[in-house]
């Protein structure tokens, strides 16, 4: 339970924290820091188990049918990442308290930050790959919101969109990759996947699965060629950058590689794909970082480069390299988070991040400068700092690769070259910002030290850098060992965390990088000039252009396919169906099954002839609208009779009620349309369409014939057998609607309610001019409400309501139910609308029409929820019999309450739709707010 709780805590915090927004930034910062602190405390007791090499897995079933379970896993690797996420998270919360300005929406900020924290924890603690994917996507979405936190800035919005597009696209690839892995292994549980390493690597799907998974990891971790989103995500507030780009978001991809390392690594394919991607990223990031004048831009590209370094280490495939990679994850997180925070402080205090203007800050903020310089030195890999240790390991490993021939020189040369650049840009960060003359034209002058507490997170992180750098075994040894053990999923080779391993080649490489880097920095102007010769590519513009191009293609494609002509859609649909079914149908032929054809009788023959004739007539006469409408009514009536003839009374009743509502609805619309339309389609088109329709109809006939003449063993047997026992009703149709498939019904009435509200909202302000005469030029009668009709309709209302109540009550056992009863009630009220007008009717209704809709949905949902109270799943029904004198035995099932909900929704929605349409012209007659 604890692990699920650890993941859940930040999510709870995200809900609770904004409530403190009114109480000021300090209050909300304290409230937000509680979840991570409690989570840390909850993780602490497990340390002893993990240090002994144990693994904690907690599984709760969720959707076993698709292999998705709520299982969480705590081992060394996930603990390491969880600690980074939580500890740096707390520090960021404290830092953001001083970074954000008073007027900013701190509630939203902290809520999103905690959401992000929870999603990241979910990724690292999930023991089920599908569950991890859910959290993975959550981080993409929440990071989008965080990057665009200042959503009034166009750059922020664009950067966020780019990040979402790249990481979201990678997420899709990852989804496919994980599904393939699950297919190969037969389970999505991490234990099973890791245990099946050999099966996976031997599988023919391995290259595809690996590529897809790596695509997910590379996009998330900003690897070349997907690295471009990261620098543009720097439009985020600095605490977000510090959090997302040091310890969390971009490390998710790294985490994925580490997590699946035992299952996927160790093949040639892995080696080439991962190490070369890492190498390219390492070099490109380091090179670009040197030329960025924006402080955060430099850090962003340096992050890209360091992520490439870690990826390269994983790609090498040796155990020591993997350990070095995990180690560098820790080190990079600490120094990069502190550097981002320092950059944020500088930005905060000077008002700019342009290094050409920020100079000589040492004399204004010596304290911050010292911290930033130590962190930057660690980034450069200066001895006695943590960055040095992992970089040494990296250099050592780059020499150990057994590449053929001259290629063996490539990794060490790339590593050294990247080291040179790293030293150069770190030197620039130190020298250009804190020394190098006087500041130029600062927006805020003179800058001074930030608030005391703003520096505390930086101090803690820098202290960690030094501690790890000087006393590595003491400071990080056990945790690193546990993480390495979990990453390798096997024995850990011997490695030494000492400051100097003696004078060897890696140390020489370090020195070389150091001096060449400093040299490069002193000669930087030449490099700047050289770099300036190349045209700067604005990835954002390229990306935006690509996006708008895709949108344009999509628009054109849709225009071709979807031009608004309904006939065309039907044509395409029929043609597609025909293309798929024509072969099986022709081979099926005129196929009469074992049951044979039932005998025909006179009424059925007459009825079906009328049905066919009127359907054809409605199509042929469609240009004379009223005639077509009347023919349609006949079709509806005949269909209802067919339902009755073939034993479907519920359907017959529903059809009859829907029929009249449809006819009234069509008449309301026809009122505004011309009563006659000209012939629009060419002769060729009409014949073509007729032939296609004929072919499609014949196909349907052949299928139906073959189906109905055979005994069919369908799911209906189950419903018939269980309806009385399980649902307490003998009307299977109604029991299915309100009980077996109650969830569907709930969804359907929700849709109905939304549709009704939508129509109401759209037509509320619409006013149409009524046509002055009908199609033949007769002026409209002035007698709106004929007296005889009015006088007879009124007594009919209670009569119809009685019928409706009767049909509702017996619905569970006999044909009927809430839906039909609702339609009858609605139609009875529509009769009053027709006879006496809407104003008259609404004056006599003590509620507006939204009320029954809302009440109905509420009752239906509440009935479903009530079964939770008795410990049953959603919408479980219970029932008992009561005897009602005269009327007979009635079922009193909980499903009946649900049916009341259906009833009310149907009444309200139907009336609301028709009333909205009816009100279009007679705005003045209806009092505002009358319904």
């Amino acid at each position: 339970m604890t692990l699920a709780l650890v993941v859940l805590l930040p999510f709870l915090g995200a809900i609770v924290a904004p409530l403190f927004a009114q109480a000021g930034r300090t209050a909300i910062a304290i409230a937000s820091s509680l979840p991570p602190i409690v989570a840390l405390a909850a993780l602490y007791p497990h340390w002893s188990t993990l240090a002994a090499g144990g693994v904690l897995v907690q599984t709760h079933e969720w959707l076993p049918a698709i292999g998705l379970s709520l299982s969480f896993r705590l081992d060394g690797l996930s603990l390491l990442f969880a600690l980074l996420i939580l500890v740096i998270g707390v520090l960021i919360i404290l830092y953001a308290r001083y970074y954000l300005k008073k007027h900013e929406n701190v509630g939203k900020f902290y809520s999103l930050l905690l959401l992000f924290m929870g999603s990241m924890l979910g990724i690292v603690l999930s023991s089920n790959l599908l569950l991890m994917l859910i959290f993975w996507e959550l981080t993409s979405v929440v990071s989008f919101l965080l990057i665009s936190f200042w959503n009034y800035k166009q750059d922020a919005r664009r950067g966020a969109r780019m990040a979402l597009a790249v990481t979201g696209g990678g997420g899709l690839a990852l989804l496919a990759g994980v599904l393939l892995l699950g297919q190969i292994v037969g389970s999505y549980e991490l234990d099973d996947v890791l245990a099946a390493a050999d099966t996976i690597k031997a599988s023919s799907l391995y290259p595809v699965a690996l590529t897809l998974v790596l695509l997910g990891a590379f996009t998330k971790s900003a690897q070349f060629p997907f690295h471009f989103w990261l620098p543009h995500a720097m439009q985020a507030p600095t605490p977000v950058s510090a959090y997302l780009h040091s310890a969390t978001m971009v490390k998710a991809g790294i985490f994925l590689m580490a997590r699946l390392y035992p299952a996927l690594a160790g093949t040639e394919l892995w080696f080439y794909m991962v190490s070369f991607t890492g190498m390219a990223t390492l070099l490109i990031g380091a090179y670009t970082a040197l030329f960025k004048h924006d402080l955060k831009g430099l850090l962003a590209h340096s992050t890209v480069s360091h992520l490439g370094l870690i990826t390269l280490l994983f790609g090498m495939g040796t155990k020591l390299a993997a350990i070095a990679a995990v180690f560098h994850v820790i080190n990079h997180a600490t120094f990069k988070a502190s550097l981002f925070m320092a950059a944020g402080i500088i930005d905060h205090e000077t008002g700019t991040r342009d290094m050409r203007r920020i100079n000589g800050l040492w004399q204004f903020m010596p304290h911050t400068a010292t911290l930033a310089m130590v962190a930057a030195a660690s980034m450069a890999g200066v001895p006695l700092l943590n960055g040095f240790l992992s970089k040494e390991m990296f250099f050592a490993e780059s020499l150990n690769l057994n590449l053929p021939g001259i290629w063996a020189y490539l990794p060490p040369v790339v590593a050294t070259l990247a080291g040179v650049f790293a030293v150069a840009y770190s030197a620039r960060f130190i020298h250009d910002v804190f020394f190098n003359g006087k500041p130029v034209d600062l927006p805020i002058y003179p800058p001074h030290e930030p608030p005391r507490y703003m520096k505390i997170p930086v101090e803690i992180l820098v202290f960690a850098c030094v501690m790890v750098g000087v006393f590595p075994t003491f400071a990080i040894g056990p945790l690193l060992y546990a993480a390495a053990e979990a990453t390798l999923a096997g024995p850990v080779p011997e490695y030494h965390l000492t400051i100097v391993h003696g004078f060897n080649l890696p140390l020489l490489m370090s020195f070389l990088a150091f001096f060449l880097g400093l040299l490069m920095y002193t000669q930087r102007q030449r490099f700047f000039d050289f770099h300036a010769r190349f045209r700067e590519i604005d990835e954002k513009a390229v990306f935006e252009a690509a996006v708008s191009r895709v949108v344009e293609w999509a628009r054109r494609f849709i225009e071709v396919l979807e031009n608004g002509s309904l006939q065309r859609y039907v044509l395409l649909l029929l043609l597609a169906t025909l293309a798929v079914t024509i072969v099986p149908i022709t081979s099926l032929g005129f196929n009469v099954g074992s049951l044979g054809i039932s005998p025909i009788d006179l009424p059925t023959t007459v009825g079906s002839l009328i049905l066919i004739g009127c359907a054809l007539g409605a199509a042929a006469m469609h240009r004379e609208r009223l005639y077509a409408l009347i023919l349609l009514s006949v079709v509806g009536l005949m269909v209802a009779l067919t339902f009755a003839r073939f034993s479907a009374p519920d359907l017959a009743m529903t059809q009859l009620s829907v029929e009249v509502v449809t006819i009234v609805l069509l008449m309301l619309a026809l009122y505004y349309l011309p009563s006659w339309t000209p012939r629009e389609a060419s002769l060729f088109r009409r014949w073509r369409d007729a032939i296609i329709a004929l072919v499609a109809g014949s196909g349907m006939f052949l299928i139906t014939l073959a189906m109905l003449t055979r005994p069919l063993d369908s799911i209906s047997r189950y419903f018939l057998e269980n309806s009385v026992e399980g649902g307490g009703g003998s009307n299977v149709v109604n029991v299915i609607l309100v009980d077996f498939r109650g969830f569907d019904t709930l969804g359907e009435i929700t849709v109905l309610a939304i549709a009704a509200l939508g129509i109401y909202a759209m037509l509320r302000e619409t006013k149409l001019t009524a046509p002055p005469t009908d199609g033949q030029g007769h002026p409209w009668s002035t007698d709106a409400h004929p007296t005889i009709l009015k006088q007879i309709s009124r007594p009919l209302l209670p009569l119809a309501l009685m019928v409706s109540a009767f049909i509702f009550l017996r619905g569970h056992n006999m044909p009927g139910g809430g839906f039909i009863a609702g339609l009858i009630t609605a139609v009875a009220i529509i009769l009053q609308y027709i006879a006496s007008g809407m104003t008259w009717s609404h004056q006599r209704m003590p509620f507006n029409l939204q009320t029954p809709v809302a009440l109905g949905l509420f009752i239906a949902t509440a009935t479903g929820l009530a079964s939770f109270a008795f410990g049953y799943p959603f919408l479980t029904s219970t029932f008992s019999h009561i005897h009602w004198p005269v009327v007979g035995d009635f079922e009193l099932a909980s499903a009946m309450a649900f049916d009341i909900g259906v009833y009310l929704t149907v009444v309200g929605a139907t009336l609301m739709i028709l009333a909205s349409l009816g009100r279009l012209t007679n705005q003045s007659e209806v009092k505002p707010g009358a319904y």
Partner: protein, 89 residues
């Protein structure tokens, strides 16, 4: 006896239905068609009742009742549409 009567009646009502449809198609004016539709639905009541008697089942009585209600409302709405254009106002 009832069985024979049933057969005769069903044939008569079926014929009546066919004649109604004849008038509905022939028209010539909209009121004629609506009138034919109205009597068609009343005949449908008869058909359903006869069906119920012939299979000795009361399952369909409510359908017949509904046709009585819905048919009337449909006719009234159509008639009002002819006269007034706006059905609900």
């Amino acid at each position: 006896m009832i069985a024979i009567a049933l057969k005769i009646t069903i044939v008569m009502v079926s014929l009546a239905v066919a004649l109604n449809v004849y008038r509905l198609v022939k028209g010539p004016d909209a009121p004629d068609r609506i009138l034919a539709l109205d009597s068609l639905s009343i005949n449908a009541i008869a058909l359903i009742l006869l069906l119920g008697i012939s299979i000795n089942s009361r399952l369909y009585i409510e359908s017949a009742l509904l046709i009585a209600v819905m048919g009337f409302i449909g006719t009234v709405a159509l008639a009002k549409y002819l006269k007034r254009g706006s059905v609900i106002e």
